[in-house]
């Protein structure tokens, strides 16, 4: 709440500018010039249309100047019959650009300029002609770095909202796919597109999403993370309640399951909601590779999720409180390697975990060349030298690195960081109360997970509340010919995904 700016005051001052465009072109230009004082990138191109003065106003860099030159300026320079000239005629006969509209108020005109449109005002006209010839620099569609796959589409979202919505449109050729638009941010006026399948997404959900989006009052949205934090159900929770993706196929798949996507201009990360806990341990590739390996990998990930969260805690608890639980020979090797270690196991674990986190953090933001140096340094210094110097024991290094590897297997980064963070409270609980503490911590965590909601959908579903038929796509992934229904958690009507019993068979055998 503290961070929300008092947007109302600024909008009030703008409201007084809700005045129509005057027919005197110079007054209008002066007004706009005043509004854009000290903005050197605003271009006023003065031209004569017939015998009247006219101005093309745009922000340099946001427009495609080639198109403006060829299809607007050159056309307008032609000899024109001045008497019959009016806005409609310019729109319909002269400017040969695909999208042209009109604007009647000064505020709207200014907004259009800020959007990257080119505005043409002509003397004696009481409206401005908005020419849509946006041309800001765009990154091309490339492979998403954060979610790479072996099998699956190689395209990823870009920073441009129109590119992103079109990428989804390219996947779903259906008029049921709706795209609603909003502008959020009093200063940035970031375009936000809400996408959903009209026949699948429950209308209440769409309504709720729109309501929460409309409530946002903030000066700027620079990334979809802003929106995510502003519309979450439980803002204090460690767990992400909205998924983000860089992949159009993931977004499309979720749309087909009745979820809503929020595309934000300026970021390749599209929000998907509502979401369940288990979606965060599923990768898009699970659906593309053969189902056997998907089942194996999902089970593996589930096990590793527990390891990532609990393994250091379990090791600490068992070696400091419950030595009787360890097999004798294993305990003796642990005892042998811990013989010269000066720290308690808990401190040892904290040192190693923190060192590991530091290494990871150091590696992320460094250029790739130096990143390699960091990993060598880390593996050598932290791994070998620390053990040889007798600072940490070898089993602890194994535990920490296994935990690290386990946390890397969580396909969604935002869930991985939650698990990474929760490891530390668990570690401390284990160090103070042993397995009892680990159990208490797990119970608190589970209770919290069961209580969480993502846009009204239970976060832990379909495990809690339990729904057997939905489990086909949680820990395992049944073959596509068995996935005949959509998740019924929130898709109420239209649950049939495909014809039943579509298992491939040989025609001959059947007869």
């Amino acid at each position: 709440m503290r961070f929300r700016t008092k947007g109302k005051e600024t909008s009030k001052t703008k409201q007084s500018n809700e005045q129509p465009i005057l027919s005197n072109v110079e007054t209008t230009v002066d007004y706009i010039k005043e509004e854009f004082k000290d903005s050197s990138d605003l271009i006023f191109r003065k031209i004569n249309v017939g015998k009247r003065h006219a101005y093309l106003i745009y922000i340099d860099g946001l427009v495609d100047s080639n198109r403006i030159e060829l299809h607007a300026i050159e056309q307008l320079f032609k000899d024109l019959d001045d008497q019959r000239l009016d806005a409609e005629m310019i729109e319909e006969k002269i400017v040969s650009i695909n999208s042209v509209s009109e604007s009647t108020t000064l505020t709207d005109t200014i907004n259009q300029i800020l959007d990257g449109n080119t505005v043409l005002i002509v003397d004696t006209f009481d409206k401005a002609i908005v020419i849509d010839a946006k041309g800001a620099t765009k990154r091309s569609v490339g492979e998403p770095d954060s979610e790479s796959v072996i099998r699956g589409p190689r395209e990823g979202f870009t920073e441009a909202i129109r590119v992103n919505t079109s990428l989804i449109r390219q996947k779903i050729h259906s008029s049921n796919l709706k795209v609603l638009s909003r502008k959020i941010g009093t200063e940035t006026k970031t375009s936000v597109a809400i996408m959903y399948m009209e026949n699948l997404a429950p209308p209440e959900l769409v309504k709720e999403v729109l309501a929460r989006l409309d409530k946002i009052e903030i000066d700027g949205i620079l990334e979809s993370g802003y929106i995510e934090e502003l519309i979450e159900d439980s803002p204090f929770s460690f767990f992400p309640q909205i998924q983000n993706t860089e992949r159009p196929d993931t977004a499309a798949a979720n749309l087909l399951e009745g979820r809503v996507c929020i595309v934000v201009d300026g970021t390749p990360f599209v929000l998907i909601l509502p979401v369940s806990f288990w979606q965060f341990i599923q990768a898009s590739e699970d659906y593309y590779q053969r189902f056997h390996i998907s089942i194996f990998l999902r089970l593996l990930r589930t096990v590793l999720l527990f390891l990532a969260l609990l393994m250091p805690a379990f090791y600490v608890a068992v070696t400091t409180f419950h030595q009787e639980m360890v097999p004798t020979t294993l305990l003796l090797s642990i005892a042998a390697s811990r013989e010269a270690i000066p720290f308690p196991v808990l401190v040892e674990a904290l040192i190693m975990e923190l060192a590991f986190e530091a290494l990871r953090e150091a590696g992320i933001r460094l250029p790739k060349v130096i990143g390699q140096a960091v990993s060598i340094l880390g593996a050598l210094v932290i791994g070998q030298a620390a053990v040889e110097a007798g600072i940490v024991s070898a089993p602890m290094v194994i535990v920490v690195s296994l935990t690290g590897i386990a946390s890397f297997t969580i396909p969604r980064f935002n869930m991985a960081i939650s698990i990474r963070l929760l490891r530390f409270p668990m570690l401390i609980l284990a160090g103070t109360f042993g397995l009892f503490g680990v159990v208490i911590g797990s119970i608190v965590l589970l209770t919290h997970l069961c209580r969480l909601r993502s846009f009204g959908v239970p976060y832990f579903s379909p495990l809690s509340p339990l729904d057997w038929s939905e489990l086909k796509d949680v820990f395992i992934r049944v073959p596509w010919w068995e996935m005949d229904r959509r998740p019924e958690q929130f898709v109420k009507e239209n649950t049939v995904r495909k014809a039943k019993s579509f298992k491939p068979y040989s025609e001959k055998k059947k007869s």
Partner: protein, 386 residues
């Protein structure tokens, strides 16, 4: 927000004030691998423990551990004395910088003297200690238990481990089974005997003490009855159904033996009552596989098959009756005949036999029946035609 802060404060108090109150670091503990109990004098006991020295274990990864594989043994044996087992433990602890930790004790050895005087009190200590495992194996030895712990067998790092592995392949009695045998009426416990022997090679320098488990000790309640001989031990094994998957060798012709492996042994006790006195029939049904057929018997020939079976049955019967007679004379019920009565006819058992079972047993008639069957032959090997 205030409530939240208050709760947070309380929670952090729990964490910070409790500290780690039960915390025991691995290197503050002395893991007892095996214990030996000896009786020294009247009301004087000795407990010896075998404790690994992690610094000497020479394991990889412990390069920091100082000694490494410096040649010294990876364990040591120490003992304490006292008026009972507990006190001797305390005596021992006063000499140890690390706390004795019994949860990994898998071997318990009773010395001969203690066994003769009854191990009941010593066993009670084990049960009373929450750290003890009921699954640890119990052994008895001729002589002092401490000597067994002190021996340095070749294969394993610790003699306790050797004993445990040896017991796996033969008769094994856990604390739990031992307690059952003592407290159940009409049955007496059996314990395997661990003994020291030397490596049998001609290399005098490389001779080492090895550990052997080949015989069994017969107890009368918690007191040692007698140490059975090797022959008798075989008989006991048949009676207590411990011959499954064990090998057995018996003569069929002059110097020709047959080696078999028992694949299935089933013991059945039946009784009849006459004049309030029970009469028992012990039936042992066994299936065996031939491992070596020295006499080249042809099992397709019924008479030769009969020969092999009869020799086997009579050989077993001889062993079984000899040990049964001996134990019967001493009033010891190794087969659990009384327990069989207690289970199948408990009213009569309580009424007539329970109080005086040992004397009744001495005059009881016991018949043994062996039904052997050879179900699988071996390859005939080289047959020389005459």
């Amino acid at each position: 927000m205030v409530v939240f802060r208050f709760v947070f404060l309380l929670l952090s108090c729990i964490l910070l004030l409790t500290g780690c109150w039960d915390r025991k670091e691995v290197n503050d503990l002395a893991f007892v691998l095996g214990t030996g109990f000896d009786k020294l004098d009247k009301n004087k006991y000795r407990t010896s423990v075998q404790v690994p020295l992690p610094g000497n274990s020479g394991q990889s990864g412990s390069s920091s551990g100082g000694g490494g594989a410096g040649g010294s043994a990876p364990y040591y044996v120490d003992s304490g004395q006292g008026r009972n087992i507990r006190e001797s433990n305390d005596d021992l602890q006063s000499r140890m910088s690390r706390e004795l930790f019994f949860s990994h004790r898998r071997i318990i050895i009773f010395g001969e003297e203690l066994a003769r005087n009854g191990f009941h009190d010593s066993l009670d200590v084990i049960i009373e200690q929450p750290q003890s495992r009921l699954s640890s194996s119990v052994f008895v030895t001729e002589g002092k238990a401490m000597d067994i712990l002190n021996s340095t067998p070749h294969f394993e790092q610790f003699s306790s481990e050797t004993i445990r592995e040896l017991a796996k392949g033969g008769v094994r009695r856990s604390v739990k089974e031992l307690i059952n045998d003592i407290y159940n009426p009409g049955i007496d416990p059996i314990l395997p005997i661990v003994s020291k022997s030397m490596t049998q090679n001609n290399d005098e320098e490389n001779k080492k003490e090895e550990i052997e488990i080949s015989r069994l000790a017969v107890f009368k309640d918690d007191q040692l009855g007698f140490f059975a001989s090797t022959e008798e031990s075989k008989g006991i094994k048949w009676i207590i159904s411990e011959m499954d998957d064990q090998t057995y060798t018996y003569p069929v012709k002059d110097t020709k033996e047959m080696n078999i492996r028992v694949t299935n042994e089933k013991l059945k006790i039946n009784h009849t009552v006459k004049n309030n006195l029970p009469k028992f029939t012990i039936t042992i049904n066994l299936e065996a596989r031939v491992e070596q057929n020295e006499a080249d018997l042809d099992f397709d020939n019924p008479s030769e098959y009969e020969l092999a079976i009869n020799k086997l049955e009579s050989s077993i019967k001889k062993e079984v009756t000899s040990i049964l007679n001996r134990s019967q004379e001493e009033g010891i019920d190794i087969a659990g005949l009384g327990y069989h009565l207690y289970q199948s006819d408990s009213l009569t058992w309580d009424k007539y036999w329970a109080d005086d079972w040992r004397t009744i047993l001495k005059d009881t008639e016991i018949t043994t029946k062996i039904n052997a069957e050879i179900i699988r032959n071996t390859s005939p090997g080289i047959t020389i035609k005459e």
